[in-house]
Amino acid sequence: MGLFENLDKIFNVSLIYATFRASTPIIYAALCAALTQQANILNIGTEGIMLVGAFTAVAVSYITGSWFFGIIAAMMGGALIAMIMAVGHIKYNSDICAIGMGINMLAIALTKFLLSVMFGTTGSFANPDIIPIPRIHFAFLENVPVLNDLLNDWCFTEWFVILFVIILQFLFYKTVWGLRLRAVGQFPMAAQTTGIHVNAVKYQAMLISGLVGGLAGAHLSLGYSTQFVENMTNNRGFMGVAAMYFGGANPVLTSVGCLLFGFSDSVGARLQAYGLPAQFVLMMPYVVTVVILAISMIIKLRAEKKRESSLITNEARG
């Protein structure tokens, strides 16, 4: 079973959707982190927000029988957790990393606890009464060979993420709110002197970030799969934070970083089947994380240097 005669099986059309499927949860997580990063808050609690969202989505979908309410509740749950962080960080000046890690640990324990109290099980909860997010089926694509494999039966939240990246890109760089948000993140004092309520903007960013994080969780437990499992985020939140760094909190670039993760994961899944050592393949996403972060840091440093030098020349001129 040689690797090379099977390249067509590894790099086929389905790889494109597989990449996107594996990336989507990370894109949501990265957007959750990007929102606060624009206001200069490192949302290390993304993982915890997602996990709470995932649990709430499953619980509410199971109880009400509606995926829509599940998503809404998950977003509310995410927002609630994010607001705890926001109050701790903005109002009481606690270190965001400390409180974020606290949130992550709380989320694992809290969902485990609620799982046993509400459903009387441990470990995982799957039930036919959990209504998943519907998949969108285009009847007219059924007879189109490639597009049918490529675009049919995507989950609703998978389509939505594309739209959402565009919306956020517009919001950050083309609206007054986005300008204020970035001003608060880059130079709070300057923002304040122009009359922006710095803390209000930070609270808004955290709130929206929480809503997005909750949606990320709902996609994991109702879209990507239809079950809740303890700690089911499995570091996808942290990968999102890494991708956010890669993209410098720019939604489009961030998503590109996420797609790289998804791609390395999906190609790895296929390569393994042809005798490449599992340990090597499983290492790939993490190697990619390190490489991506290193590259983004180099780019950032260069950009800063350039900015500095232009500043000096400007001063010299002035």
Partner: protein, 362 residues
Amino acid sequence: MKKRILSIVLTTVLCMSMIGCAKKDKPAETPAASTGESSGEAAESSGVRVCVVYTGNLGDKSYNDSCNEGAQRAVAELGIELKSLEGVTAQEWEANLLAACEGGYDLIIGSSSNLEEYMKKHASNYPDTCFAIIDTVIEGDNIQSISFAQNQGSFLAGAAAAMFTEMTDIDGVNEDVIIGWVGGMDIPVLHDFYIGYEQGAKYVNPDIKILQSFAGTWNDPLKGKELTLAQFEQGADIVMGVASTTGTGILEGAKEAGKYAIGVDLNQDGDQPGSVLTSMVKRVDNACYLTIKSVVDGTFEGGKTQYLTLADGGVSLTDFAVIKEHLGDKFPQEIVDKCNELAEKIIAGEIVVENYEGFGPQ
């Protein structure tokens, strides 16, 4: 004022967490009490304290739950006191094992071979405690090892999968003669599974292709699902999963893709009804129960190895009942007949299933 509110909130949280803790202990004890009363025998506590250390979480509907079933049966029938320690990372496993050692338990059961290294390191320091390990062999005066002929059970699963992949009249079965196998962590016992699976499949069809992947974790069903879907996209139509909680994603992947899976450890046929052909049942529950019983009866022998095979019911395939109901007329009865025939041949010694090094009868 603010401080007062804060203190009230904190106190409430504290009280709630205490209630929570109290509640959590209850389920472990109540079944013992209630079944004890109803059966009327062995109702009073035998005073034996047992701790089971898991490498993963309960609720996997597979290996860990099977082990827990045996332990709960011992609670109900033998009146032992049971403590279960779950852990996801290697650090937690060693810490849990040490905590169990220090806890003065009569018997500590290490549920999987992931604990091998730590038990080797620490068991000799606690000579008065009985230890048992499942799925691997450790030498030591106070350690009993229990291993299974998972290669024999997997041989049958592989043979069933190899026959199934050629039944193209069943929905979801394609022309390619390719089957898949997804494992949790890359540990020796899983290779023992795989060797049997491969041999069984090749026994039926020497030209068959088998795709093999490891998720690298016992607790990530999404990863399991992704690997399974990748194998389906590469032409497989049936995938055997051996992966604890990761395996729930394997079964879900099969259901979503309209393909098939083979479950493991417990009877998982009903978990995604209609998408699970059969399950390779490994009676971890019996092993766990019998070990506890030997301690209660005082017959526990350290340094001994038990090897449970197809012949003594340690491993087996399920009866295919769930898939039969779903496929109706299309259900291939010949697979069941052939599997039964192969099982008899293995028991009679006509077919010798190979072992991964370090496994097999000692």
